[in-house]
Symmetry: C2
Subunit: 133 residues, 2 copies
């Protein structure tokens, strides 16, 4: 899908579509396409509790690194919208960490600007959400 | 389970246990037990995008109403922790709304204080997350 930049931020269905587009772009290992979903001054806190990164270059670098590792995202339940400008997506990340295959259980919460782009992403996963496969 | 008030807020496993205790207390229709999981000045935004409520009496009233409706929560994927003081839980709410049986797909994000109690709850669900059953 393509994000319609005229969509309103409180459009729950549009936010969900953007979340699923995020997953598709990530799984295509297309860091530029992932980064283009974000606003120029967006922030990423991944995992929650770590220092946030901000801005287009940092975000592009983050996804260039992440997609270069061969990680794959698998959506496990339908995305949740809201009555505001935020939505949530729960998924599993299948990746290699330190030579081992792992599954990381994650819930992302994303906030959206009026133009439909992501203004903030927070990834909920703890040390105990990393499972050997 | 019983919340250990000495647990540290950034204990991912303890936050997850509290989330599951929340579900158990809700499904027991025990509003007092649910409310006791919250800090005295906690806030609830349910759904995200609606005005928040705050404080023990408001929270107790919220759960007295919610549990009186016969709603039941069903956890659909394991809770997600973090490296900070917040965790996320995705579940389905089975309830009656305006005479109809519905399933509402929800993700709750909860923040925790140093004493292990919930300081904030935000429930992500949109108009399009309410499904007739």
């Amino acid at each position: 899908m393509t994000i319609d930049m005229t969509m309103t931020a409180n459009n729950s269905a549009a936010m969900k579509a953007a979340l699923l587009d995020y997953v598709a772009a990530f799984n295509a290992a297309d860091a530029e396409r992932v980064a283009a979903l974000f606003a120029d001054d967006a922030t990423i806190e991944d995992p929650v509790g770590s220092p946030a990164i901000a801005g287009r270059e940092a975000i592009l670098g983050f996804y260039r690194h992440a997609t270069s590792l061969g990680a794959r995202l698998e959506v496990v339940v339908p995305p949740r919208g809201s009555h505001g400008n935020a939505a949530a997506l729960s998924f599993a990340v299948y990746a290699r960490m330190q030579g081992h295959s792992v599954r990381i259980d994650v819930t992302d919460v994303m906030t959206f600007g009026a133009d439909g782009r992501i203004t903030g992403m927070r990834a909920f996963w703890g040390p105990d959400d990393v499972h050997p496969q």
